[in-house]
Amino acid sequence: MTRALLRRVNVLGLLTLLGFFLLWELLVRTGILRFEYLPAPSGVLTAGADLVSSGELPTNLGHTLEATVAGWLLATVVGVLLGTLMALVRPVWVYSMASIDALRSLPIVAFVPVAVLLLGFTTQMEIVVAFYAAVWPVLLNTVAGLRAVHPRLIEVGRVLRVDGVRELWKLRLPAATPYIVTGMRLGLAVSLVLILVAEMVGNPSGVGFALISASQSLQPEVMFAYIVTVSLSGIVLNALLVGLVSIVFRGQMAAAGEK
Protein backbone atom coordinates (compact mmCIF):
# COMPACT_ATOMS: atom_id res chain seq x y z
CA MET A 1 0.00 0.00 0.00
CA THR A 2 2.62 2.53 1.09
CA ARG A 3 4.98 1.19 -1.51
CA ALA A 4 2.43 1.69 -4.27
CA LEU A 5 1.87 5.20 -3.03
CA LEU A 6 5.60 5.83 -2.99
CA ARG A 7 5.89 4.68 -6.55
CA ARG A 8 3.18 7.07 -7.65
CA VAL A 9 4.72 10.02 -5.88
CA ASN A 10 7.73 11.24 -7.81
CA VAL A 11 10.16 11.25 -4.89
CA LEU A 12 13.20 11.88 -7.04
CA GLY A 13 11.53 14.83 -8.74
CA LEU A 14 10.35 16.36 -5.48
CA LEU A 15 13.82 15.98 -4.01
CA THR A 16 15.27 17.75 -7.04
CA LEU A 17 12.80 20.58 -6.57
CA LEU A 18 13.69 20.81 -2.90
CA GLY A 19 17.38 20.72 -3.79
CA PHE A 20 16.83 23.52 -6.25
CA PHE A 21 15.27 25.68 -3.52
CA LEU A 22 18.07 24.82 -1.07
CA LEU A 23 20.67 25.75 -3.64
CA TRP A 24 18.90 29.04 -4.28
CA GLU A 25 18.76 29.76 -0.54
CA LEU A 26 22.42 28.91 -0.18
CA LEU A 27 23.57 30.96 -3.13
CA VAL A 28 21.66 34.03 -1.96
CA ARG A 29 22.78 33.67 1.68
CA THR A 30 26.43 33.25 0.83
CA GLY A 31 26.19 36.11 -1.63
CA ILE A 32 27.45 34.09 -4.58
CA LEU A 33 24.29 34.86 -6.50
CA ARG A 34 24.00 38.61 -6.33
CA PHE A 35 21.13 40.45 -7.83
CA GLU A 36 20.05 43.53 -5.99
CA TYR A 37 16.48 42.31 -5.63
CA LEU A 38 16.65 38.54 -5.50
CA PRO A 39 15.30 37.30 -2.16
CA ALA A 40 16.03 33.93 -0.63
CA PRO A 41 13.20 31.36 -0.47
CA SER A 42 13.09 31.73 3.33
CA GLY A 43 12.46 35.47 2.90
CA VAL A 44 9.60 34.72 0.54
CA LEU A 45 8.05 32.36 3.08
CA THR A 46 8.12 34.94 5.89
CA ALA A 47 6.77 37.62 3.59
CA GLY A 48 3.99 35.28 2.52
CA ALA A 49 3.09 34.46 6.09
CA ASP A 50 2.94 38.17 6.95
CA LEU A 51 0.71 38.87 3.97
CA VAL A 52 -1.66 36.10 4.95
CA SER A 53 -1.90 37.16 8.59
CA SER A 54 -2.48 40.79 7.65
CA GLY A 55 -5.30 39.66 5.38
CA GLU A 56 -3.85 41.51 2.44
CA LEU A 57 -3.10 38.45 0.36
CA PRO A 58 -6.45 36.70 0.88
CA THR A 59 -8.32 39.93 -0.02
CA ASN A 60 -6.36 40.53 -3.21
CA LEU A 61 -6.36 36.90 -4.26
CA GLY A 62 -10.09 36.69 -3.59
CA HIS A 63 -10.73 39.71 -5.77
CA THR A 64 -8.68 38.35 -8.66
CA LEU A 65 -10.15 34.87 -8.50
CA GLU A 66 -13.72 36.13 -8.22
CA ALA A 67 -13.35 38.27 -11.31
CA THR A 68 -11.64 35.44 -13.20
CA VAL A 69 -14.27 32.87 -12.35
CA ALA A 70 -17.14 35.27 -13.08
CA GLY A 71 -15.81 36.15 -16.52
CA TRP A 72 -14.89 32.57 -17.25
CA LEU A 73 -18.30 31.17 -16.26
CA LEU A 74 -19.99 33.76 -18.46
CA ALA A 75 -17.63 32.83 -21.29
CA THR A 76 -18.44 29.15 -20.84
CA VAL A 77 -22.18 29.74 -21.14
CA VAL A 78 -21.88 32.10 -24.10
CA GLY A 79 -19.16 30.03 -25.78
CA VAL A 80 -21.12 26.78 -25.59
CA LEU A 81 -24.34 28.43 -26.79
CA LEU A 82 -22.73 30.24 -29.71
CA GLY A 83 -20.52 27.27 -30.53
CA THR A 84 -23.54 24.97 -30.65
CA LEU A 85 -25.35 27.38 -32.93
CA MET A 86 -22.34 27.63 -35.23
CA ALA A 87 -21.74 23.91 -35.35
CA LEU A 88 -25.34 22.90 -35.99
CA VAL A 89 -26.61 25.67 -38.26
CA ARG A 90 -24.41 25.60 -41.30
CA PRO A 91 -25.18 29.13 -42.61
CA VAL A 92 -24.25 30.60 -39.23
CA TRP A 93 -20.88 28.90 -39.49
CA VAL A 94 -20.34 29.96 -43.10
CA TYR A 95 -21.20 33.57 -42.35
CA SER A 96 -19.22 33.98 -39.15
CA MET A 97 -16.22 31.66 -38.96
CA ALA A 98 -13.89 33.84 -41.03
CA SER A 99 -14.81 36.87 -38.89
CA ILE A 100 -14.03 34.89 -35.78
CA ASP A 101 -10.71 33.75 -37.23
CA ALA A 102 -9.86 37.36 -38.01
CA LEU A 103 -10.82 38.60 -34.54
CA ARG A 104 -8.95 35.73 -32.96
CA SER A 105 -5.69 36.65 -34.62
CA LEU A 106 -5.76 39.94 -32.72
CA PRO A 107 -3.46 39.24 -29.79
CA ILE A 108 -5.78 39.04 -26.80
CA VAL A 109 -3.63 41.24 -24.55
CA ALA A 110 -4.00 44.11 -27.01
CA PHE A 111 -7.65 44.26 -25.96
CA VAL A 112 -6.78 45.11 -22.40
CA PRO A 113 -6.04 48.77 -23.19
CA VAL A 114 -9.32 48.96 -25.11
CA ALA A 115 -11.25 47.50 -22.21
CA VAL A 116 -9.57 49.91 -19.82
CA LEU A 117 -10.47 52.83 -22.07
CA LEU A 118 -14.10 51.81 -22.49
CA LEU A 119 -14.90 50.62 -18.98
CA GLY A 120 -12.40 52.47 -16.83
CA PHE A 121 -10.76 51.11 -13.71
CA THR A 122 -13.59 48.85 -12.62
CA THR A 123 -14.21 45.24 -11.70
CA GLN A 124 -16.60 45.01 -14.64
CA MET A 125 -13.65 45.77 -16.87
CA GLU A 126 -11.76 42.84 -15.37
CA ILE A 127 -14.71 40.52 -15.85
CA VAL A 128 -15.06 41.61 -19.46
CA VAL A 129 -11.37 40.93 -20.05
CA ALA A 130 -11.62 37.47 -18.47
CA PHE A 131 -14.73 36.78 -20.50
CA TYR A 132 -13.08 37.85 -23.73
CA ALA A 133 -10.03 35.72 -23.03
CA ALA A 134 -11.98 32.57 -22.21
CA VAL A 135 -14.77 32.77 -24.74
CA TRP A 136 -12.61 31.89 -27.77
CA PRO A 137 -11.23 28.57 -26.61
CA VAL A 138 -14.64 27.50 -25.32
CA LEU A 139 -16.40 28.55 -28.52
CA LEU A 140 -13.88 26.96 -30.86
CA ASN A 141 -13.68 23.74 -28.90
CA THR A 142 -17.45 23.48 -28.78
CA VAL A 143 -17.59 23.86 -32.56
CA ALA A 144 -14.76 21.37 -33.06
CA GLY A 145 -16.28 18.90 -30.60
CA LEU A 146 -19.74 18.98 -32.13
CA ARG A 147 -18.34 18.62 -35.62
CA ALA A 148 -16.26 15.64 -34.53
CA VAL A 149 -19.28 13.66 -33.33
CA HIS A 150 -19.18 10.33 -35.15
CA PRO A 151 -21.85 10.20 -37.89
CA ARG A 152 -22.83 6.71 -36.71
CA LEU A 153 -23.98 8.18 -33.42
CA ILE A 154 -26.35 10.51 -35.25
CA GLU A 155 -27.68 7.56 -37.26
CA VAL A 156 -28.26 5.65 -34.06
CA GLY A 157 -30.25 8.67 -32.91
CA ARG A 158 -32.37 8.58 -36.05
CA VAL A 159 -32.96 4.84 -35.77
CA LEU A 160 -34.02 5.15 -32.13
CA ARG A 161 -36.14 8.25 -32.81
CA VAL A 162 -34.00 10.52 -30.66
CA ASP A 163 -34.36 13.77 -32.54
CA GLY A 164 -34.40 17.55 -32.29
CA VAL A 165 -33.51 18.97 -28.91
CA ARG A 166 -33.23 15.47 -27.44
CA GLU A 167 -30.64 14.56 -30.06
CA LEU A 168 -28.58 17.61 -29.10
CA TRP A 169 -28.96 16.99 -25.40
CA LYS A 170 -28.55 13.24 -25.32
CA LEU A 171 -26.12 12.58 -28.16
CA ARG A 172 -24.26 15.55 -29.56
CA LEU A 173 -23.45 17.58 -26.46
CA PRO A 174 -22.40 14.58 -24.34
CA ALA A 175 -20.19 13.37 -27.19
CA ALA A 176 -18.59 16.83 -27.43
CA THR A 177 -18.11 17.19 -23.68
CA PRO A 178 -14.41 16.25 -23.54
CA TYR A 179 -13.68 18.90 -26.15
CA ILE A 180 -15.75 21.52 -24.34
CA VAL A 181 -14.00 20.74 -21.06
CA THR A 182 -10.63 21.19 -22.74
CA GLY A 183 -11.82 24.56 -24.00
CA MET A 184 -12.92 25.50 -20.51
CA ARG A 185 -9.57 24.53 -19.03
CA LEU A 186 -7.66 26.53 -21.61
CA GLY A 187 -10.03 29.44 -21.13
CA LEU A 188 -9.51 29.40 -17.39
CA ALA A 189 -5.73 29.59 -17.76
CA VAL A 190 -5.90 32.44 -20.26
CA SER A 191 -8.45 34.40 -18.20
CA LEU A 192 -6.23 34.30 -15.14
CA VAL A 193 -3.27 35.72 -17.07
CA LEU A 194 -5.32 38.43 -18.72
CA ILE A 195 -6.96 39.43 -15.45
CA LEU A 196 -3.50 39.99 -14.00
CA VAL A 197 -2.61 42.23 -16.94
CA ALA A 198 -5.85 44.15 -16.53
CA GLU A 199 -5.09 44.68 -12.85
CA MET A 200 -1.56 45.78 -13.63
CA VAL A 201 -2.49 48.42 -16.17
CA GLY A 202 -5.98 49.24 -14.96
CA ASN A 203 -7.93 48.39 -11.91
CA PRO A 204 -6.13 49.27 -8.67
CA SER A 205 -7.01 46.04 -6.86
CA GLY A 206 -6.27 42.36 -6.90
CA VAL A 207 -3.04 40.44 -7.28
CA GLY A 208 -1.94 42.29 -10.41
CA PHE A 209 -2.07 45.62 -8.67
CA ALA A 210 -0.40 44.21 -5.56
CA LEU A 211 2.45 42.96 -7.74
CA ILE A 212 2.91 46.37 -9.32
CA SER A 213 2.87 48.20 -5.99
CA ALA A 214 5.29 45.70 -4.47
CA SER A 215 7.53 46.33 -7.46
CA GLN A 216 7.35 50.07 -6.91
CA SER A 217 8.05 49.76 -3.20
CA LEU A 218 10.94 47.40 -3.96
CA GLN A 219 9.63 44.34 -2.09
CA PRO A 220 10.68 41.33 -4.14
CA GLU A 221 9.75 38.85 -1.37
CA VAL A 222 6.18 40.11 -1.49
CA MET A 223 6.14 39.72 -5.26
CA PHE A 224 7.44 36.16 -5.07
CA ALA A 225 4.82 35.35 -2.46
CA TYR A 226 2.06 36.65 -4.73
CA ILE A 227 3.44 34.87 -7.78
CA VAL A 228 3.57 31.58 -5.94
CA THR A 229 0.04 31.90 -4.57
CA VAL A 230 -1.46 32.93 -7.88
CA SER A 231 0.27 30.00 -9.61
CA LEU A 232 -1.03 27.64 -6.96
CA SER A 233 -4.54 29.05 -7.32
CA GLY A 234 -4.34 28.40 -11.04
CA ILE A 235 -3.45 24.78 -10.34
CA VAL A 236 -6.16 24.43 -7.72
CA LEU A 237 -8.86 25.95 -9.94
CA ASN A 238 -7.87 23.65 -12.79
CA ALA A 239 -7.84 20.63 -10.48
CA LEU A 240 -11.25 21.59 -9.10
CA LEU A 241 -12.64 21.85 -12.59
CA VAL A 242 -11.15 18.53 -13.66
CA GLY A 243 -12.34 16.84 -10.47
CA LEU A 244 -15.85 18.22 -10.77
CA VAL A 245 -16.07 17.27 -14.41
CA SER A 246 -14.88 13.74 -13.81
CA ILE A 247 -17.62 13.33 -11.23
CA VAL A 248 -20.45 14.93 -13.19
CA PHE A 249 -19.47 13.56 -16.61
CA ARG A 250 -17.91 10.35 -15.36
CA GLY A 251 -18.76 8.27 -18.41
CA GLN A 252 -17.71 10.82 -21.00
CA MET A 253 -14.35 11.66 -19.51
CA ALA A 254 -13.42 8.08 -18.73
CA ALA A 255 -14.43 6.96 -22.19
CA ALA A 256 -12.28 9.70 -23.70
CA GLY A 257 -9.33 8.44 -21.70
CA GLU A 258 -9.14 11.58 -19.59
CA LYS A 259 -9.46 9.81 -16.32
Binding site: Y95, S96, S99, I100, V109, A110, A189, L194, I235
Partner: protein, 276 residues
Protein backbone atom coordinates in the same frame (compact mmCIF):
# COMPACT_ATOMS: atom_id res chain seq x y z
CA UNK B 1 0.35 31.16 -19.26
CA UNK B 2 -0.99 28.61 -21.63
CA UNK B 3 -2.30 31.39 -23.76
CA UNK B 4 -1.21 29.05 -26.53
CA UNK B 5 -4.55 27.50 -25.95
CA UNK B 6 -6.42 30.46 -27.26
CA UNK B 7 -4.82 30.19 -30.62
CA UNK B 8 -4.90 26.44 -31.04
CA UNK B 9 -8.33 24.90 -30.80
CA UNK B 10 -8.38 21.21 -30.27
CA UNK B 11 -8.89 19.75 -33.68
CA UNK B 12 -10.58 16.42 -34.19
CA UNK B 13 -8.42 13.62 -35.45
CA UNK B 14 -8.48 13.52 -39.21
CA UNK B 15 -9.95 10.35 -40.55
CA UNK B 16 -7.52 8.30 -42.56
CA UNK B 17 -9.42 8.57 -45.78
CA UNK B 18 -9.24 12.32 -46.19
CA UNK B 19 -9.18 13.16 -49.85
CA UNK B 20 -6.76 15.71 -51.21
CA UNK B 21 -9.60 18.01 -52.19
CA UNK B 22 -10.98 18.01 -48.69
CA UNK B 23 -7.57 18.63 -47.17
CA UNK B 24 -7.14 21.61 -49.44
CA UNK B 25 -10.51 23.03 -48.52
CA UNK B 26 -9.69 22.63 -44.86
CA UNK B 27 -6.37 24.36 -45.17
CA UNK B 28 -8.17 27.26 -46.84
CA UNK B 29 -10.23 27.41 -43.62
CA UNK B 30 -13.65 28.93 -43.36
CA UNK B 31 -15.19 30.50 -46.45
CA UNK B 32 -14.40 34.18 -46.96
CA UNK B 33 -18.11 34.97 -46.96
CA UNK B 34 -17.76 34.65 -43.24
CA UNK B 35 -15.98 38.00 -43.12
CA UNK B 36 -19.30 39.64 -43.92
CA UNK B 37 -20.38 40.28 -40.30
CA UNK B 38 -17.01 41.84 -39.49
CA UNK B 39 -17.09 44.10 -42.53
CA UNK B 40 -20.72 44.97 -41.92
CA UNK B 41 -19.93 45.79 -38.32
CA UNK B 42 -17.09 48.10 -39.31
CA UNK B 43 -19.25 49.83 -41.92
CA UNK B 44 -22.04 50.33 -39.40
CA UNK B 45 -19.49 51.63 -36.92
CA UNK B 46 -18.21 54.11 -39.52
CA UNK B 47 -21.72 55.30 -40.34
CA UNK B 48 -23.19 55.39 -36.85
CA UNK B 49 -20.21 56.67 -34.86
CA UNK B 50 -20.79 60.20 -33.63
CA UNK B 51 -18.14 62.70 -34.64
CA UNK B 52 -15.32 62.95 -32.08
CA UNK B 53 -16.70 60.05 -30.05
CA UNK B 54 -14.51 59.57 -26.97
CA UNK B 55 -15.14 55.81 -26.90
CA UNK B 56 -16.06 54.65 -30.36
CA UNK B 57 -14.30 56.80 -32.95
CA UNK B 58 -15.12 55.82 -36.54
CA UNK B 59 -12.66 53.48 -38.28
CA UNK B 60 -11.61 56.28 -40.63
CA UNK B 61 -10.39 58.18 -37.56
CA UNK B 62 -8.12 55.30 -36.61
CA UNK B 63 -5.87 55.75 -39.60
CA UNK B 64 -5.75 59.51 -39.09
CA UNK B 65 -4.75 59.03 -35.47
CA UNK B 66 -1.86 56.81 -36.52
CA UNK B 67 -0.49 59.40 -38.97
CA UNK B 68 1.66 61.34 -36.46
CA UNK B 69 3.24 58.06 -35.31
CA UNK B 70 4.02 57.14 -38.89
CA UNK B 71 5.45 60.58 -39.64
CA UNK B 72 7.91 60.73 -36.77
CA UNK B 73 8.89 57.13 -37.40
CA UNK B 74 7.92 55.95 -33.94
CA UNK B 75 5.45 53.39 -35.27
CA UNK B 76 8.07 51.69 -37.40
CA UNK B 77 10.61 51.75 -34.56
CA UNK B 78 8.01 50.26 -32.24
CA UNK B 79 7.16 47.48 -34.66
CA UNK B 80 10.88 46.86 -35.03
CA UNK B 81 11.39 46.50 -31.28
CA UNK B 82 8.41 44.22 -30.87
CA UNK B 83 9.48 42.09 -33.80
CA UNK B 84 13.07 41.86 -32.58
CA UNK B 85 11.93 40.78 -29.11
CA UNK B 86 9.57 38.27 -30.64
CA UNK B 87 12.14 36.73 -32.97
CA UNK B 88 14.94 36.58 -30.38
CA UNK B 89 12.54 35.23 -27.77
CA UNK B 90 11.26 32.52 -30.09
CA UNK B 91 14.79 31.59 -31.13
CA UNK B 92 15.98 31.24 -27.55
CA UNK B 93 12.85 29.32 -26.62
CA UNK B 94 13.46 26.94 -29.52
CA UNK B 95 17.06 26.26 -28.53
CA UNK B 96 16.28 25.85 -24.84
CA UNK B 97 13.06 23.92 -25.42
CA UNK B 98 14.50 21.53 -27.98
CA UNK B 99 17.62 20.86 -25.92
CA UNK B 100 15.80 20.16 -22.66
CA UNK B 101 13.06 18.30 -24.49
CA UNK B 102 15.54 16.00 -26.23
CA UNK B 103 17.40 15.45 -22.97
CA UNK B 104 14.44 14.53 -20.79
CA UNK B 105 12.79 12.61 -23.60
CA UNK B 106 15.86 10.37 -23.88
CA UNK B 107 16.11 9.45 -20.24
CA UNK B 108 13.20 8.55 -17.96
CA UNK B 109 15.19 9.13 -14.79
CA UNK B 110 16.20 12.63 -15.82
CA UNK B 111 12.60 13.24 -16.83
CA UNK B 112 11.31 12.17 -13.43
CA UNK B 113 13.99 14.13 -11.63
CA UNK B 114 13.28 17.38 -13.43
CA UNK B 115 9.53 16.86 -13.82
CA UNK B 116 8.21 18.72 -10.76
CA UNK B 117 10.71 21.55 -11.12
CA UNK B 118 9.81 22.11 -14.75
CA UNK B 119 6.13 21.70 -13.97
CA UNK B 120 6.26 24.36 -11.27
CA UNK B 121 8.03 26.72 -13.66
CA UNK B 122 5.36 26.00 -16.22
CA UNK B 123 2.47 27.11 -14.08
CA UNK B 124 3.96 30.55 -13.39
CA UNK B 125 1.62 32.98 -15.14
CA UNK B 126 3.69 35.06 -17.57
CA UNK B 127 1.93 38.25 -16.61
CA UNK B 128 2.80 37.89 -12.93
CA UNK B 129 6.50 37.62 -13.79
CA UNK B 130 6.66 41.02 -15.46
CA UNK B 131 6.87 43.25 -12.37
CA UNK B 132 9.36 40.90 -10.76
CA UNK B 133 11.52 40.70 -13.86
CA UNK B 134 11.60 44.49 -14.11
CA UNK B 135 12.66 44.72 -10.49
CA UNK B 136 15.47 42.18 -10.86
CA UNK B 137 16.62 42.91 -14.40
CA UNK B 138 15.43 46.47 -14.90
CA UNK B 139 13.59 47.83 -17.92
CA UNK B 140 15.85 46.04 -20.34
CA UNK B 141 15.86 43.74 -23.32
CA UNK B 142 17.03 40.88 -21.06
CA UNK B 143 13.95 41.39 -18.93
CA UNK B 144 11.67 41.30 -21.99
CA UNK B 145 13.37 38.20 -23.31
CA UNK B 146 13.21 36.35 -20.00
CA UNK B 147 9.47 36.90 -19.75
CA UNK B 148 8.92 35.88 -23.38
CA UNK B 149 11.21 32.86 -23.40
CA UNK B 150 9.87 31.21 -20.27
CA UNK B 151 6.33 30.51 -21.50
CA UNK B 152 7.27 30.08 -25.17
CA UNK B 153 9.65 27.24 -24.30
CA UNK B 154 6.96 24.82 -23.10
CA UNK B 155 5.17 23.92 -26.30
CA UNK B 156 8.50 23.19 -27.97
CA UNK B 157 9.91 21.32 -24.99
CA UNK B 158 6.84 19.12 -24.59
CA UNK B 159 6.56 18.39 -28.28
CA UNK B 160 10.23 17.44 -28.62
CA UNK B 161 10.12 15.38 -25.43
CA UNK B 162 7.21 13.32 -26.75
CA UNK B 163 8.93 12.83 -30.09
CA UNK B 164 12.22 11.81 -28.46
CA UNK B 165 10.43 9.33 -26.24
CA UNK B 166 8.68 7.66 -29.12
CA UNK B 167 11.78 7.63 -31.30
CA UNK B 168 12.48 4.03 -32.20
CA UNK B 169 15.55 2.70 -30.39
CA UNK B 170 16.28 0.81 -33.59
CA UNK B 171 17.12 4.11 -35.25
CA UNK B 172 19.86 4.82 -32.71
CA UNK B 173 21.17 1.23 -32.67
CA UNK B 174 21.20 1.20 -36.44
CA UNK B 175 23.37 4.28 -36.56
CA UNK B 176 25.73 2.76 -34.03
CA UNK B 177 26.15 -0.42 -36.06
CA UNK B 178 26.89 1.75 -39.06
CA UNK B 179 29.79 3.16 -37.08
CA UNK B 180 28.52 6.72 -36.79
CA UNK B 181 30.25 8.78 -34.11
CA UNK B 182 28.40 10.55 -31.35
CA UNK B 183 28.43 13.91 -33.10
CA UNK B 184 27.37 12.36 -36.35
CA UNK B 185 24.54 10.51 -34.66
CA UNK B 186 23.18 13.73 -33.25
CA UNK B 187 23.63 15.62 -36.50
CA UNK B 188 22.44 12.99 -38.94
CA UNK B 189 19.84 11.07 -36.96
CA UNK B 190 18.62 12.88 -33.90
CA UNK B 191 18.20 16.41 -35.23
CA UNK B 192 16.41 15.45 -38.45
CA UNK B 193 14.20 13.01 -36.55
CA UNK B 194 13.16 15.62 -34.01
CA UNK B 195 12.78 18.56 -36.38
CA UNK B 196 9.11 18.03 -37.26
CA UNK B 197 8.10 17.91 -33.62
CA UNK B 198 10.18 21.01 -32.94
CA UNK B 199 8.40 22.83 -35.75
CA UNK B 200 5.06 21.72 -34.38
CA UNK B 201 6.06 23.20 -31.03
CA UNK B 202 7.19 26.42 -32.70
CA UNK B 203 3.85 26.74 -34.44
CA UNK B 204 2.15 26.83 -31.07
CA UNK B 205 4.88 28.85 -29.38
CA UNK B 206 5.06 31.62 -31.98
CA UNK B 207 1.65 33.24 -31.44
CA UNK B 208 2.21 32.82 -27.71
CA UNK B 209 5.59 34.59 -27.90
CA UNK B 210 4.00 37.48 -29.77
CA UNK B 211 1.23 37.80 -27.20
CA UNK B 212 3.69 37.77 -24.32
CA UNK B 213 5.90 40.32 -26.11
CA UNK B 214 2.95 42.69 -26.36
CA UNK B 215 1.99 41.86 -22.79
CA UNK B 216 5.38 42.87 -21.40
CA UNK B 217 5.32 46.01 -23.45
CA UNK B 218 1.81 46.98 -22.42
CA UNK B 219 2.54 46.46 -18.74
CA UNK B 220 5.97 48.11 -18.68
CA UNK B 221 5.47 50.56 -21.59
CA UNK B 222 9.15 50.03 -22.20
CA UNK B 223 9.07 50.21 -26.02
CA UNK B 224 7.51 48.45 -28.96
CA UNK B 225 3.96 48.22 -30.21
CA UNK B 226 2.61 47.33 -26.80
CA UNK B 227 4.36 50.37 -25.33
CA UNK B 228 2.66 52.63 -27.85
CA UNK B 229 -0.68 50.97 -27.03
CA UNK B 230 -0.13 51.58 -23.34
CA UNK B 231 0.74 55.23 -23.89
CA UNK B 232 -2.21 55.78 -26.20
CA UNK B 233 -4.54 54.26 -23.62
CA UNK B 234 -3.08 56.30 -20.77
CA UNK B 235 -3.46 59.50 -22.84
CA UNK B 236 -7.04 58.61 -23.86
CA UNK B 237 -6.14 58.62 -27.55
CA UNK B 238 -8.97 56.22 -28.29
CA UNK B 239 -8.68 56.30 -32.07
CA UNK B 240 -4.98 55.59 -31.82
CA UNK B 241 -5.64 52.60 -29.53
CA UNK B 242 -7.99 51.10 -32.12
CA UNK B 243 -5.50 51.80 -34.91
CA UNK B 244 -2.67 50.11 -33.00
CA UNK B 245 -4.97 47.21 -32.20
CA UNK B 246 -5.49 46.63 -35.92
CA UNK B 247 -1.75 46.74 -36.51
CA UNK B 248 -1.17 44.25 -33.69
CA UNK B 249 -3.82 42.05 -35.28
CA UNK B 250 -2.12 42.23 -38.65
CA UNK B 251 1.18 41.28 -37.02
CA UNK B 252 -0.51 38.36 -35.28
CA UNK B 253 -2.08 37.20 -38.51
CA UNK B 254 1.26 37.43 -40.31
CA UNK B 255 3.07 35.42 -37.66
CA UNK B 256 0.36 32.75 -37.66
CA UNK B 257 0.39 32.51 -41.40
CA UNK B 258 4.17 32.34 -41.60
CA UNK B 259 4.68 29.62 -39.00
CA UNK B 260 1.81 27.52 -40.27
CA UNK B 261 3.10 27.59 -43.82
CA UNK B 262 6.73 27.11 -42.82
CA UNK B 263 5.87 24.12 -40.68
CA UNK B 264 3.75 22.63 -43.39
CA UNK B 265 6.39 23.15 -46.08
CA UNK B 266 9.13 21.56 -44.00
CA UNK B 267 7.10 18.63 -42.76
CA UNK B 268 5.90 17.99 -46.31
CA UNK B 269 9.51 17.79 -47.46
CA UNK B 270 10.64 15.64 -44.58
CA UNK B 271 7.82 13.16 -44.46
CA UNK B 272 6.31 13.42 -47.90
CA UNK B 273 3.13 14.70 -46.32
CA UNK B 274 2.58 11.55 -44.34
CA UNK B 275 2.39 13.54 -41.14
CA UNK B 276 -0.37 15.69 -42.48
Amino acid sequence: MSADAATTPLTPKESAGTTAARAKRRRGGAPLRGLLPLVLGLVLWQVLAPAQSPYFPAPSEWGRALLPLVKDGSLLTAIGWSFLTFVLGLLLATVVGAAIGALIGANRTVDRALGPTLESLRVLPAAALVPLATLVLGYSMQMKLLVVVLPATWPILLSVRTARRSLSPVLMDMSRTLGLGRGERVRKILIPALTPSMLLGIRIAAPLALIITLLVEIVTRINGLGGLLGFAQASFLTAQVYGLLVIAGALGFLVNWAVTHAEHAVSMRMTGGAAD
